[in-house]
């Protein structure tokens, strides 16, 4: 990483960290959120929901950037993220 130039405005860049919220009983197990999460935060769980579907599980919570794609791609209004914190950017990030 030592070859990477450090941007001048690095100190101003904040990286959002999101928190996933999931209402399992609404999920119909289509898998869209798992497939299209750009940072692979979600995985399909082995668990059965009340309706008999496999809801997603937040496998890598630290990777969530609160981009909101899971919210908009979910046909069931079952999953969304909220901003948990913003962390300082670093070139190792």
């Amino acid at each position: 990483m030592s070859n990477v130039r450090k941007p001048y405005d690095l100190s101003e860049i904040k990286i959002p960290r999101g928190e996933i919220h999931l209402i399992k009983d609404r999920c119909k197990g289509c898998g869209f959120c798992v497939e299209y999460c750009p940072n692979n935060v979600l995985e399909v769980s082995d668990e059965f929901s009340e309706k008999g579907y496999h809801p997603p599980v937040v496998a890598n919570p630290e990777r969530c950037l609160n981009c909101g794609l899971c919210e908009i791609v979910c046909p069931e209004f079952a999953i969304w993220s909220t901003l948990k914190e913003e962390v300082e950017a670093s070139i190792e990030g």
Partner: protein, 281 residues
Amino acid sequence: MAMAEKGKVEEKHPMEQLLRMDRMPHIWCPGCGIGISVTAFVSALKKLEFDLNKMCVVSGIGCTGRVAGYIKLDSFHTTHGRAIPFATGIKMANPDLKVVVFSGDGDLVSIGGNHFIHAARRNIDITVILVNNFIYAMTGGQVAPTTPETAYTTTSPFGNFETPANIPQLAEAAGAVYVARWTALHVRRLEKSIVEAINKPGFSLVEIVAPCSMYYSRINRLGAGIDMMRFYHENSIIKHDEPTENLAVGYQKQIIVGKFIDRERPGFIESNRRWSAEAKG
């Protein structure tokens, strides 16, 4: 209301204020694209600088026809094919309202095809969000005017031999001022198009190619909704301003998406006002 994760009580989805949560779960099957069309729409509503109390949603009949029942705005679930003229009546009677028609391909271009053409010709200021799943799904998977050639349906058991409608071309020819098409996968772009369409004065159309995971996909052995989404991922190509004559959709062929028409034409309301004022003298 369902409990969310352990220890948290009644979490609220950020779109809940614009959805009728007491009507959930909705009727759409797992992997259906209509739910995504709704989230894209609601997401677009939040970006509008407009009093949403002044917005009406009108649907016809069919799977997409049920959208009106889930959106928490003044909403009308009308008769099969008649969403556009119903919306036309609302808009003419109160031009201050924004009127959005949210319905399916069979509803809007088959039984309601004539209204579609004439609303575009008249350039009445409404936005039409048309979910195209290539099939009559509510009735169990019959052939539609949008079913691609050779695709199986319950009433084309040997493959569809009719030529399907090219909806953007139809809209352009009839006089629509804004025409875009996206798949259910292109949610962000779709959301942006819906914002543009609603803000555009005149007849605007956003077509959404969406998976019918229960009928179209099953009878054609295309897998689940997710498999159709993967197909869109691999086979759709964004070509803004593509001539609409090139936008026919073939069976499991490339789907061209993008914004194709964005033009100006005088609309019904302003022409009517001008005519009326001149006549009055």
